[in-house]
């Protein structure tokens, strides 16, 4: 067999790109940061960490450990519920009097039975849930949404772009028409429309919304690349030896435009993470049973008035670090994959 002959495997273009990336310090640091996030996400997804994030482990609005505990509230009451006296005002019948009485009784009956912590590492939210765990779980939601939606958008954009650019003519006209329809509708309107059609809240819905609206930019880029490549001599040569259209599109041209696709993928992960935050903030995001950075920011809206800044700080920091690292990594990726550098 000639397969046994000795040879030095020579570096392909990907290997060369990796070598260049390894020498890019900023690129490597950001890659490490992104990988660290991915590890956290994987651990969270497998339930190793932060699986018990909904448990109310601290006192309400427990401050972060480094800020020190709040002064104990008077009478051990955790929430300043309206006193009974208020309801006794003449002429006013409190319709919730019974409920309030019930609540008061409940609070008195369980005076911190589980000994809630006065402080938490990164503080607690309104119900005393650990913000650190929420951030970890939120990272999982946001990153998964960002990555899966980006994959979906890139898949749609690449396939449609490849067909439009490769075949041209009517196929191109038709796909461009679809593209124009999608881009001519205001973004939020489109999001609302798709949300209405899907008619349920949840992570999957967010992914679908982002994926179905976000492919247009990728479509344009990939189409342009295919237009450029389909008349290249190597594609003609592939035609000459008898390859099929599909082989030429995906086995021959695709590897040569994959750097564009990869950079777009990376770019859209960042974009969609931010979009998910905005959607959740606006209330079109993930449901109440899950936590994401967006829903955390949404909660912290009302908390800020009370001066409880830690949930906001934790969510924004986590997001800022990831987005920055991912963007820097995308830049580095674009540099090392630039075919002019080979």
């Amino acid at each position: 067999m000639s397969a046994v002959m000795t040879h030095e495997t020579s570096p392909g273009l990907w290997a060369l790109a990796w070598r260049r990336l390894r020498r890019d310090r900023v690129g490597m640091v950001s890659l490490v940061v992104v990988c660290a996030y991915l590890v956290v996400v994987a651990a969270a997804a497998l339930g190793w960490i932060a699986a018990d994030w909904p448990r109310e482990v601290g006192v309400n609005y427990a401050p972060p450990g480094f800020a020190g505990a709040d002064a104990p509230p008077p009478q051990g009451s955790l929430t300043p519920l309206p006193t009974a006296a208020a309801a006794d005002e003449p002429g006013i019948v409190d319709p919730l009097a019974d409920v309030l009485a019930e609540l008061r009784k409940g609070l008195a009956a369980a005076p911190d039975a589980q000994a809630r912590a006065a402080t938490l590492p990164l503080g607690g939210d309104k119900w005393g849930r650990d913000v650190l765990k929420k951030v970890v779980k939120g990272t999982e939601t946001s990153l998964v949404v960002g990555m899966v939606a980006a994959l979906l958008a890139v898949l749609i954009g690449t396939v449609l772009g490849a067909y439009a650019g490769y075949y041209g003519g009517r196929m191109d006209d038709f796909l461009n028409w679809i593209y124009s329809v999608f881009t001519s509708i205001p973004y939020l309107l489109l999001v609302l429309a798709i949300a209405a059609v899907l008619n349920q809240k949840g992570t999957l819905t967010v992914i679908l919304i982002l994926g179905l609206t976000g492919w247009t930019g990728i479509f344009r880029l990939v189409r342009a690349e295919y237009l450029k490549h389909r008349t290249r001599e190597y594609v003609l040569a592939a035609d000459a030896i008898g390859t099929s259209n599909a082989q030429r599109m995906f086995a021959h041209i695709f590897p040569n435009v994959s750097h564009v696709v990869l950079v777009q993928l990376s770019l859209h992960v960042v974009l969609f993470i931010k979009s998910e935050v905005i959607l959740s903030f606006l209330g079109f995001g993930v449901g109440v049973e899950t936590v994401s950075w967006g829903s955390m920011l949404n909660e912290s809206q009302s908390e800020l008035i009370l001066g409880k800044w830690w949930q906001l700080a934790a969510a924004t920091t986590a997001m800022a670090v990831l987005v920055t690292a991912f963007s820097l990594f995308t830049d580095a990726l674009r540099d090392v994959l630039d075919p002019r550098l080979k």
């Binding site: 020579s10 570096p11 290249r232 003609l236 000459a240 030896i241």
Partner: protein, 572 residues
């Protein structure tokens, strides 16, 4: 020798490369080059790609790409008793254009497409000579007339795309001489142009130089051109000067083995040696004696015909305005026969339809009419499924070896793919063996199997492309300018290879090229094309010795190095 205008001494230029393999690889692009450009004469810098000739020219102008190129200490470039290497950017800018100017290879990309040529000329005049608008315009028209642009009053307002390639290069020359420089550097000024235009530009440069008593540094890869224009020749290879001297001496009595090889590896027009001598022969010291064995070419009456093309046409439609369509005939009623085991040369200038002919025959672009009978079946009317078995029997080698191989495939994958598609070879192992066999045949070492195209030189890539065709054992091989992008010494090797393969496999070639000497050497029959039509077709020797058509005559007259055709007579 008279006083020297420019003298380069011990010029060394290093390039830093970031190729991803070594952190900072350094190539010595120019290693200690010394030569003089005397006043009022032309010095030709000749060398193949990578010889450092362009880098030398850029160094003179101070135009080396900044961060990566470094001129080593000890180098010196003296222009009129002034050292150029230590000048500030501002001083250099003043010098460029006014004293030393340059004409580049690609007129198309050197002119700004959004400004009229007049505007670009006037800008130069205003900037360097301080002319006012009116005077500058008058001067611009004068300059255009001087470089031979017809109707300069009108053309001064033309945009670059409204001019032909030759006219664009004339405008570039007008810009270069606008400030009456003492030294004109021309970097391959005719390489991108058609052969007949090439001759006109050379004549223009020659006359301008004489009239204005400039000195010219003429950079080229083509030793043939040098004979027509230069007084002194400097032959470079790998950043070093191999030989320099007066042009007569270089051509009549070359001393260096490399110079001899460069002179010898061009196909001669008057005879047809079995093999072309290649550089390696000369450098090995074994100077091949004149190969007296001649290859017989030509098609005699009863030759078996493998491909018969009848009235082949290809029209393109352009939309003009809203409804009107303009038709462009890229190929009009082309009919010819290709004899089995023979070579049909196709010559013509750019835009004559040579490449369209190849693409149409390969079914890479649909024909508008006509037929191509291959063993009695019309290739053009087959459905894609029916065409599959014929696809492997007619193959093509493209011009640009840097574009025709998929950069993401290794040489092995490139060779195996067609065999997989056509079911050649019993299994993968058999295919690997066939590939390795073919690689040996085309002169590639075995480890090349695992390498990617970017690791090969241009000549080696073209060998891979040829081997890819051979995997399918085609009966007809179309070579579309297959050697045109390569250095002359590499061309000779590939031409030898193509002839060897024809001898071994009995393939028929359609050999398309703008290079008349190469076509003459390779072909049994030659077909001359112009504006999509075949103007003349005959046996190769007959057509070159006795052209019937006026266009063929004109084309053949522009062949460089044909004795009488020499411009001013640097060499008689």
């Amino acid at each position: 020798m008279t006083e020297s205008l420019l003298s380069v001494r011990n010029l060394k230029v290093d390039f830093r490369l970031n190729d991803g393999t070594v952190s900072q690889a350094v190539t010595h692009a120019v290693r200690g080059v010394s030569f003089d450009v005397p006043v009022d004469s032309t010095v030709a810098l000749v060398g193949e790609s990578g010889s450092g000739k362009s880098v030398t020219a850029l160094a003179v102008l101070g135009l080396l790409p900044k961060p990566n190129a470094r001129v080593l200490s000890g180098s010196s470039i003296v222009y009129r008793n002034r050292e150029l290497l230590g000048l500030t950017p501002r001083e250099l800018t003043a010098l460029r254009g006014a004293e030393i100017s340059m004409v580049f290879q690609e007129p198309m990309s050197s002119l700004n497409p959004v400004f009229s040529v007049g505007f670009q000329l006037i800008e130069v005049l205003k900037k360097h000579l301080g002319f006012d608008g009116k005077r500058a315009r008058a001067r611009a028209i004068e300059l255009l007339r001087e470089v031979g642009i017809p109707d300069p009053y009108i053309r001064v307002d033309a945009y670059p795309h409204q001019l032909s390639g030759g006219q664009q290069q004339r405008v570039m020359i007008a810009m270069a001489i606008a400030c009456e420089p003492r030294l004109l550097i021309a970097d391959e000024p005719t390489t991108a142009l058609d052969i007949s235009v090439q001759k006109q530009i050379l004549t223009l440069l020659y006359e301008l130089r004489q009239r204005r008593q400039m000195a010219m540094l003429f950079i080229t890869h083509d030793l043939g051109l040098v004979a027509e224009i230069a007084d002194q020749v400097v032959v470079m290879r790998d950043g070093e000067i191999r030989e320099q001297g007066a042009v007569t001496q270089i051509f009549s009595a070359p001393q260096d083995a490399y110079t001899k090889a460069l002179l010898a590896c061009r196909p001669p027009l008057n005879r047809r040696p079995l093999r072309l001598p290649v550089v390696e022969d000369f450098l090995r010291g074994a100077e091949p004696g004149i190969d007296t064995a001649e290859r017989r070419r030509g098609v005699r009456g009863g030759a078996e015909i493998i491909l018969e093309v009848n009235a082949l046409s290809k029209h393109f439609h352009f939309r003009e305005g809203l409804l009107r369509k303009r038709e462009f005939k890229a190929l009009a009623n082309a009919s010819f026969k290709l004899a089995k085991g023979k070579t049909l040369g196709v010559v013509g200038e750019s835009g004559c339809g040579k490449t369209t002919l190849a693409l149409t025959l390969m079914r890479l672009t649909p024909a508008s009419g006509g037929s191509a009978l291959f063993e009695g079946r019309d290739l053009l009317s087959l459905t894609p499924e029916q065409a599959m078995p014929y696809k492997r029997r007619i193959q093509i080698v493209f011009q640009n070896p840097y574009a025709s191989l998929n950069p993401r495939f290794t040489a092995g994958q490139i060779l195996m793919e067609p065999m997989r598609i056509h079911g050649i070879g019993a299994d993968e192992a058999a295919r690997v063996n066939i590939s390795l066999d073919l690689m040996r045949k085309v002169g590639l070492p075995q480890p090349a199997f695992f390498k990617y195209p970017h690791e090969f030189s241009g000549g080696q890539r073209q060998r891979i492309a040829i081997a890819r065709c051979l995997t399918m054992q085609p009966d007809v091989l179309i070579c579309d300018e297959a050697v045109s992008a390569l250095d002359h010494s590499v061309q000779a090797q590939l031409l030898n290879l193509l002839q060897d393969l024809q001898d071994e496999f009995g393939m028929s070639y359609i050999f398309i090229s703008h290079d008349l000497a190469v076509v003459k050497y390779m072909s049994d029959e030659v077909m001359v094309m112009k504006d999509g039509a075949i103007v003349e077709m005959n046996d190769a020797d007959a057509i070159y010795a006795n052209p019937k058509n006026s266009y063929t005559k004109q084309l053949l007259a522009s062949l460089p190095g044909q004795g009488a055709a020499v411009v001013g007579g640097a060499v008689s």
